[in-house]
Symmetry: C2
Subunit: 326 residues, 2 copies
């Protein structure tokens, strides 16, 4: 059977990425356990014994999709590792080992590949993980790869533990990652691990697609997320970009992808002053309360985000969705 | 940096796959532990506790490399799973969970992808593994993917345990997998697990590149492998192919890839009659003694294979090597 079609009505472009993922779960049927033991969270969680869980995650990287000629091969290699580390961080886990598979054309420069692996090596040594295996596949002209990373956690924090009344927090600053942070980011491993040790932290995710796209995953069925727009920690890069294009810095902070910051919810019964104090004793990056989960009996699907100051619904800016026919 | 070059002297084509793998290990440096805890065996072995090991393996699958339009998408999906299962089988392990990453162009037929996942699902359910995660990446026109599979074993059998004097055995029959077995093969999971329980089984590998290419991995530094050519279990497909081309059935059995049979060595102190009896009580496929590891103080590099009947060295037929410029 020939895999391709020129009719978008017959192709995966008909669906776009989100519906495609739903279909895949359907197609996999009984072989696909529900989250958090299967697809649907930052990593899959495999219970080993009480207070001991394995975490598994996998991410891809492709030329002209995740990096281009302006990116150093070392940076591309490091990014492949860091994208996965950020997923382990978002569960509060400790990463341990990885395998890497690459699709390479014979025309690939040897010095490019050497530098790419140097980026992987340095990131692996820096985060104390071992590269224990891999596979190579020859292609005509496609350059890409994937890394599967596993780790462990005593109490993995999933996306789905938030309660009504929880405060919404974010680490670091948001927006404008295209200016450089999408390559230079530091996975929040120490921060994620510490947060997982705080019983008041109910849910967590790393921001990869942008705050507006990732926050809905944390909203409980009977809640809306109420965001204090003026509290958003806006990055300098978002300000810089805003001066150059027609979007406000706030819009960048709400919508830009690849922040790789931690977004989490904290019980409103926690002493938040003490929480901030403990955080700032340990970490240099800021932490900011940006909103809360508010009871809403409408059971919204999709989940809603409202502006705390105006009460109006915040709508996702028309973003790009993978595979989607335009 | 632009990744590609038109000069093969600057590209990975200069090296070919084997030397490229050596380079990669070098580039990864301290982040790459030695086999069997890293690259270099069928799977990586991660010790958990005495008599308890995790096994990790990863394999790729690409359109126009591992399958083409004559292959049903169900078969392609099943093959991606089975290639990895065969690696776990070759360690004597039990597979448990997997993640899948796919590179897909928007023009991919939805019904092709649905059937591909049905093949994955059926194979996963049949071998009792769970698909716990994955990632999708949009490409211009490349179609490929990878699966990372893990499992466990009480006593993993590596490639490097053979002793001088060990007998060389192979399961099933060899050669001609292009006629269909490269898609229809059954990973030898039950057989591999039983073999790992026999203390006389010293080393094991699954035949993926062909007997002549895979056997050297089992030969100890101070040995040559002495093969009884007339003992080789030749498949019907090898006979059929031989009638159609200019290679003998024996040549096919020696050189064809993708047999996915188990090649292992057994201590010569074992009661081989009893061993054969126990095997045939459990399994329907044959098992054949095809040679032995013979002392040779020359410490050959590369390892040598000789014809037991003539004493002459058997040379690998000029085979295709990935990435290699012609």
């Amino acid at each position: 059977m020939h895999p391709f079609t020129k009719y978008s009505s017959e192709s995966i472009a008909r669906l776009g990425e989100r519906k495609l993922l739903e279909k895949i779960r359907l197609w996999l049927g009984k072989s696909s356990p529900p989250a958090p033991h299967g697809m649907g969270d930052d990593t899959a969680i495999l219970p080993i014994e009480p207070n001991q869980f394995n975490l598994i995650t996998t991410d891809t990287l492709a030329y002209k999709c995740h990096f281009n000629d302006t990116v150093k091969p070392e940076q591309a290699g490091a990014k492949l590792v860091k994208r996965n580390l950020s997923d382990i961080a978002a569960m509060g886990g400790t990463p341990s080992s990885a395998v890497i598979s690459l699709f390479l054309p014979p025309t690939l420069r040897l010095d490019w590949l050497s530098a790419f692996y140097a980026g992987i090596r340095d990131e692996a040594i820096g985060s104390n993980i071992k590269i224990v295996g891999g596979d190579l596949c020859e292609t005509k002209d496609f350059l890409g790869g994937q890394l599967t990373l596993w780790g462990n956690a005593r109490r993995p924090v999933t996306r789905t533990g938030a309660n009504s009344g929880d405060f919404i927090y974010v680490s670091g600053t948001l927006g404008g990652s295209n200016c450089g942070k999408h390559l230079d980011f530091t996975p929040r491993l120490a921060e994620g691990k510490w947060l997982a040790e705080q019983p008041g932290v109910h849910s967590m995710i790393d921001i990869t697609d942008g705050l507006m796209k990732d926050l809905p995953a944390l909203i409980p069925p009977t809640c809306v997320a109420s965001l204090s727009i003026k509290s958003l920690p806006i990055s300098e890069a978002a300000e810089t970009l805003s001066a150059e294009d027609d979007q406000s810095a706030t819009q960048h902070a709400l919508s830009d992808g690849e922040d790789y910051e931690l977004l989490f919810t904290l019980s409103n019964t926690c002493d938040s002053k003490l929480f901030h104090k403990k955080w700032s004793e340990r970490f240099e990056i800021p932490i900011t309360r940006i909103g809360e989960m508010m009871e809403d009996l409408n059971q919204n699907q999709p989940r809603r985000i409202i502006n705390l100051d105006t009460g109006h619904e915040l709508e996702e800016l028309g973003g790009y969705e993978h595979f989607r026919a335009s």
